[in-house]
Symmetry: none
């Protein structure tokens, strides 16, 4: 069954690439309202494809924002498992456009890569799934699994309406497990299964001193400087050993075992110093940089501002100073609890003479982890290894995918992160691309995986 499907993919490669290019040509930028029509076109592209594949209950599910594309195939029989396939058809903006070597919405093949916005994140990977379904349906006449397709148009703007939609339509999206192809491999052609993602929470701290900027000569010595107060607060959150000093922050954090630490340290991936230009790495005392990024929680100040930012000097005591902070969380940490602890810490460490306002970031997510030994994961790894002819590595990632947590909290089913991107794909940046190797071998992996199940 899989042999025929693979041959079909080879024979129709040209047509499929051309069809993918049409999909990539639609500028479905979700953050920019002037692309509202293009968002609609990209959703319609998917609906047409699903119709051709004879999926049923196809629906453009309207939301307060952009629609979600739904469709199902339930002909594999009651014994076959049902997979919920998640992806997104919206893309990031293309600015700064002048840094692109080719038009972001005119796909171009160069150096074995497809250059286009969305080629890797996530239209390319979504398309691969549909193409594999086509191959099975055109050759075997059926799919080895039941499928529910759920492809949203708001991932790049925080999946604002997805959680509510899932909550209100629990039965509709119900499945035995989920597959998400919206991530990458540790390096090109290195089969990689992500078995853990970090959670997420954040706050914004605004310190207010005087009600207007003051002359530092007239008031210096009488007034607490809001920037200095903010610095005292921030420096009390994390020490120079990169240990987060917020009370209770590490409570309930699941230890990473010695065995897992070894795996993390041996994991392939780019060299931090080479990739970032830093003079040396800085990680939590007692943990290597790889261990920290993959397995330990982090706290980062993402932005700060206050007072005079122009050229030269302006001798003021500013009225306010603001910092934005986000944390990446690990299993055991509850984002709401951590957010409360951050707020308490900030309130307790604010010096006299200023007031502080802490805004809680709305978006938050728990960390996610699945055992690498889970049969669904092991089968994915086997398919991956077979297609790429290389052992699969198992990684935890420092990033967060909120939908993963939502799936788990609503359905408690396993989630398989089968991503084919590479570190060189330049997601969210100019010159996004996706390797042809990933396109071909990724589809091969999917063919093996469905038949393996």
């Amino acid at each position: 069954m899989s042999e025929k499907a693979l041959r079909y993919l080879q024979e129709h490669r040209e047509d499929m690439l051309n069809r993918l290019y049409r999909f990539l040509s639609i500028p479905s930028v979700s953050t920019d309202s002037k692309h509202k029509q293009d968002i609609g076109k990209a959703a319609d592209f998917l609906i047409t494809y699903l119709e051709e594949l004879s999926f049923t209950n196809i629906e453009k599910v309207e939301t307060e924002g952009h629609p979600l594309v739904y469709g199902e195939y339930m002909e594999a029989g009651e014994d076959a498992p049902t997979v919920l396939l998640y992806g997104h058809y919206d893309v990031q903006p293309v600015d700064p456009i002048e840094l692109w070597d080719s038009d972001p919405f005119k796909p171009e093949l160069r150096d074995g890569r497809i250059f286009a916005r969305g080629s890797s994140d996530d239209k390319g990977q979504v398309f691969m799934h549909l193409a594999v379904f086509e191959a099975y349906l055109k050759t075997a006449g059926k799919l080895p699994v039941n499928v529910k397709v759920c492809i949203e148009g708001e991932e790049e703007i925080g999946s604002e309406n997805l959680y509510d939609l899932l909550q209100k339509n629990k039965e509709k999206f119900k499945a035995d497990f989920a597959v998400i192809s919206d991530s990458g491999m540790a390096e090109k052609n290195q089969p990689t299964i992500l078995y853990g993602l970090k959670g997420f929470t954040g706050i914004e701290i605004k310190v207010t001193g005087p009600d207007h900027d003051l002359h530092s000569g007239m008031y210096g010595g009488a007034v607490r400087n809001p920037i200095m107060a903010l610095s005292h607060i921030l420096s009390s959150l994390k020490d120079k050993d990169e240990v987060i000093t917020v009370e209770g922050f590490y409570d309930n954090v699941e230890d990473i075992s010695d065995e897992e630490r070894k795996l993390m340290d041996q994991a392939p991936g780019e060299d931090f110093i080479h990739a970032t230009g830093i003079p040396e790495v800085a990680s939590e005392k007692g943990y290597t940089a790889k261990e920290h990024t993959m397995g330990r929680p982090t706290l980062e100040v993402n932005g700060i501002y206050g007072g005079y930012q122009g050229e030269g000097t302006k001798t003021i005591i500013p009225s306010t100073a603001t910092a934005k902070i986000t944390c990446r969380l690990v299993p055991g940490q509850d984002p709401v609890d951590i957010q409360d602890k951050l707020v308490n810490h900030v309130n307790n460490s604010t010096p006299s003479g200023v007031t502080v306002e802490v805004k809680k970031e709305k978006l938050s997510a728990k960390a996610y982890k699945v055992e690498p030994t889970h049969p669904l994961i092991q089968k994915a790894a086997k398919s991956y290894t077979k297609a790429f002819n290389k052992d699969t590595v198992f990684l935890r990632m420092g990033g967060s995918i909120p939908v993963v947590e939502w799936f788990e909290s609503i359905y408690q089913f396993p989630i398989v992160l089968l991503g084919f991107g590479t570190p060189e794909d330049r997601l969210h940046s100019p010159n996004e691309s996706f390797p042809l190797d990933s396109f071909d071998k990724g589809m091969e992996t999917l063919v093996y995986y469905w038949s393996e199940l």
Copy 2:
């Protein structure tokens, strides 16, 4: 002689205010190169006025930056003293413009105040001197003193070229004493003579981590956050007791005597809390807010920036973070020495994983102090008291006027600080204004002072 001059000022008040408004309408912001032409216009305004007053040797003295306006009146005779009148025609930027209740460059009279950028600092006060000269010249046909006028266009950017100019033209600017009206009274209509000013120095700290902004999920845990590093540096400069913790910072600081502390504490002046809206004052441990502002050195962060400053969240580790710092110094402290100590401290307290670059602010000045019993000071006090009908108080001020130190170091002559601003003027802030009372009684004071001499 003074009676007629006073009557002239009363009779021509409307015209004079209108002329002042024209001066204030010129956006002579010295720090912003796009206002270069406006700087020229403001200088020309002064030159035209001096020409009308039949001053001689009028000159727009070009510098590497903005020109200085010079002119002299030497008809008072050899027996009369020669005064060097210093002021500046440049102004601070107007940002944040949205906080102004009226256009900063369309002067508006409200609640007995002239609202405009520069109304108090320092165009308004410069103008008063010229108007008083006009009153004398139009009534008595002469001035009671010889005058050299020196009005620069770079005060708000640190008087970058003034010191060199004074050094190279010692003879030209030579006088028996100097008068500067670029300061304020302890409170509105309270005659105030400043007998001490603070010195000044500053640095800019730029912390660089990665060579581009990084995804906080992929790199958080491997990379030192430049904002956090900067916060550690800043919070190490001053503790929560407002004690500056830079090694050697207080070496050689002249103690303030118990008697002077008493005077400072009894000095009239606005209530800090009322004037600034702060919840409570914050001053150096062991000193009151008044003692600290007048007699103790300060260190302020004037501005900070780094990373994402827009709405919502952007989960990055920023590449850089920058802070601007200035200090106000007291007698005994050497600004160059203090600057070196700041640089050393920053270098020594920078954590690993980032690089730090400390830029030394070019402008620096020693603190200044004169004995309140000096006859030139006493005569100024008498004129002040006569015009305002209230005893004059003698104060030291937290602000710095570098030119005061330069005058003293070059000429060793006394400097009389005759300022008419008020604490409510909002210098350097939105809604700068100057009271009409100060405009009228200030000119009266000057009329008395010139005739007293």
